[in-house]
Amino acid sequence: MREAGPAARASTVTTLAPERDGAEPTVSEELAGFSARDLGDDRVRGQRRSLAGLLGAYALTVFVLVTLNFFLPRVMPGDPIAALVTPEAATFVHDETLRRELRSYYGLDRPLGVQYLQYLGDLATGDLGTSIRYQTPVSRLVRERLPWTVLLTGSALTLAVAAGLLAGVHSAWRRGEPVDRGLLAVFLGLRNVPVFFLASLAVFAFAVQLGWVPLAGARTLFADTGGLLGQSADVAHHLLLPAAVLATQFAAGYYLVMRANMVGELGADYLVLGRVKGLRERRLKYRYAARNALLPVVTLMALQVSHAVTGAVFVETVFAYPGMGRLLFDAVEFRDYPTLQACFLVLTLVVVTANFLADLAYRRLDPRTTR
């Protein structure tokens, strides 16, 4: 599919290996952004750019995001920002001081160019405006909420990597057997269930019916759980179910990529030699084949941050988990535009930064790209 054209020379770098069955990307995988070949291809294509070029490309993306965040509310039909300070509008803010702060933050009485410069200046100093709902600086809300989201998505990613990689290695090793087909069906099936529905199912099964974990929240409020240890246990107890649900959203990605890469390694000479030498199966499987198949997974890890952020918005909403996603949901509910915009900016910057780090990591990890 990508055989000719300028990109082809780069793509052959990653696909010098003979036709690997099972390793071909499907259009659906390609569109979902995580086919093994495509990842390699993309990254290698990126490599031909210098570090400066890479930085430039990401700077451009950040610039687009920041500018979108400024212009979107201002060019939208009905002018939602103006409605906040127009007495006839439904979203009119009645509090006098808050209204004054809003007007000064959005600079509604000044020309657009001046507003834009002021917005950039505010951003640079970490001023994200004032929340309409909570009547506190949005930057403080973000500082409170972001750590919870980082904790949740971090735990989910760790879980997903562990489960996806192990299952992928196993599946490839037993390719075509019932174990393989079963695992494939489970991982692909889970990815097609909307995460908010899956979360609700999980709450019902594990929190309501079985009572193993709390219904919602991130910790027991007003509880004297005694000491750091007790508190950590409490937080972990609350974290378990949301993290597991979130993990199902991207475990499939690691699983598929790892499986495809492993299958690609299976016929390799070094494995035949190893087997002739009489090495044990476990050693061949994990120390030899799996290690060689691991590289694209690194890139995938950062690319998945985008899926993680999306999933976190839904999972936090269902579990009332006090992170950025829940903040976004509440901001939508209350039409709290400054908070909404801050959430958008923070979440998207996290994703873009992760992608940038993936590019950097890949430059270091793949010796073929540093010529």
């Binding site: 599919m1 990508r2 055989e3 000719a4 054209g5 300028p6 036709e19 069955d21 071909e24 499907t26 259009v27 659906s28 390609e30 569109l31 979902a32 952004g33 490309a57 990401y58 451009l60 993306t61 687009v64 995001l65 965040n69 979107l72 509310p73 939208m76 039909p77 009905g78 939602p80 097609n192 269930v193 909307p194 908010f196 529905f197 609700s200 199912l201 709450v203 019902f204 309501v208 219904l215 985008s306 952020v309 918005v313 839904f314 909403t317 269902v318 976004l328 949901f329 901001a331 939508v332 039409r335 535009y337 909404l340 915009q341 959430c343 958008f344 979440l347 998207t348 994703v351 992608n355």
Partner: protein, 279 residues
């Protein structure tokens, strides 16, 4: 292409059946639904009975009727959004591939920027600011879904450009419009169909997800909105209520997504030239 083999593949059959049911229910909603989905057809929170097969919601609206009518936004946004994305990808991909030069570079740079934008937060922001209507959803989903496919189309167009029949057509004086219409689009059709189905699956998820977050036309009936209302109901989990309010809508979304996904995965071997070679 071994036509019969792929049509007989169980994945395609199941996928086609699921999508067929979705479309049929959406079209026949006025006939199938026992009540007007907005009407207060019974008491609040009735259990399932012969009068209300799936019970009623907190307002007393018939849940089965809501489920039937809820297929409409899912089906129409999926089809509309995917169609728009395919058109954009075809235009931009073919344009970049055929014209080449700086147009190509610029188009691919735009694709890179778009790929780096996280879809959901952007959709949430736009939807919260503009309010949600069918048109705005289709435009937003279409405008955010074309980039990966445009890249596939472009690389395919680059290959095709150098193929004999296209060169011959050009040699005989065929113009750009003739070549695109007569040669490129038919050659790209399999790819476009596969991409259409894959994007439709994502569009169903996005539409339901936004509605779940409360970003939907509040007067409309949709599966995502049903879940939004159910999960906003404080005592949802403390009775059997959950099982007829949340489960049907959740499974409906899942089956719709699965239908499109199965179709896509099942059609792939027939369309992907690499797969064909091996058989």
């Amino acid at each position: 292409m071994n036509g019969e083999a792929f049509l007989r593949s169980p994945l395609v059959a199941v996928g086609a059946a699921l999508v067929g049911v979705l479309v049929a229910v959406a079209l026949l909603a006025p006939v199938l639904a026992p009540y007007d989905p907005h009407a207060l057809a019974g008491d609040a929170l009735e259990r399932p009975s012969t009068r209300h097969l799936l019970g009623t919601n907190h307002l007393g609206q018939d849940l089965l009727s809501q489920l039937v009518w809820g297929s409409r936004p899912s089906a129409s946004v999926a089809v509309g959004g995917a169609a728009l994305a395919v058109l954009l990808a075809l235009g931009i991909g073919v344009g970049a591939g055929l014209v080449g030069g700086w147009v190509d570079v610029a188009a691919m740079r735009v694709v890179d920027v778009f790929l780096a934008l996280p879809t959901l937060p952007l959709l949430v922001l736009v939807a919260a600011l503009t309010g949600v209507s069918w048109t705005s959803l289709v435009i937003a989903i279409g405008a955010l879904s074309w980039p990966p496919m445009a890249r596939l189309v472009r690389s395919q167009a680059l290959t095709l450009r150098q193929r004999g029949f296209v060169e011959a057509a050009r040699g005989f004086g065929g113009g750009v419009r003739y070549i695109v219409g007569r040669h490129l689009t038919p050659a790209l059709a399999p790819l476009l169909v596969a991409a259409f189905v894959a994007i439709a699956a994502r569009a169903v998820l996005l539409e339901a997800g936004l509605a779940f977050l409360g970003l939907a036309d509040p007067t409309a009936v949709s599966w995502g909105l049903m879940l939004h209302e159910a999960l906003s109901y404080p005592a949802l989990y403390f009775s059997a209520l959950w099982s007829w309010w949340v489960l049907p809508a959740g499974f409906a979304i899942t089956l719709a997504v699965l239908g499109f996904t199965f179709l896509g995965v099942g059609l792939e071997p027939a369309f992907n030239p690499r797969w064909r070679r091996g058989r």
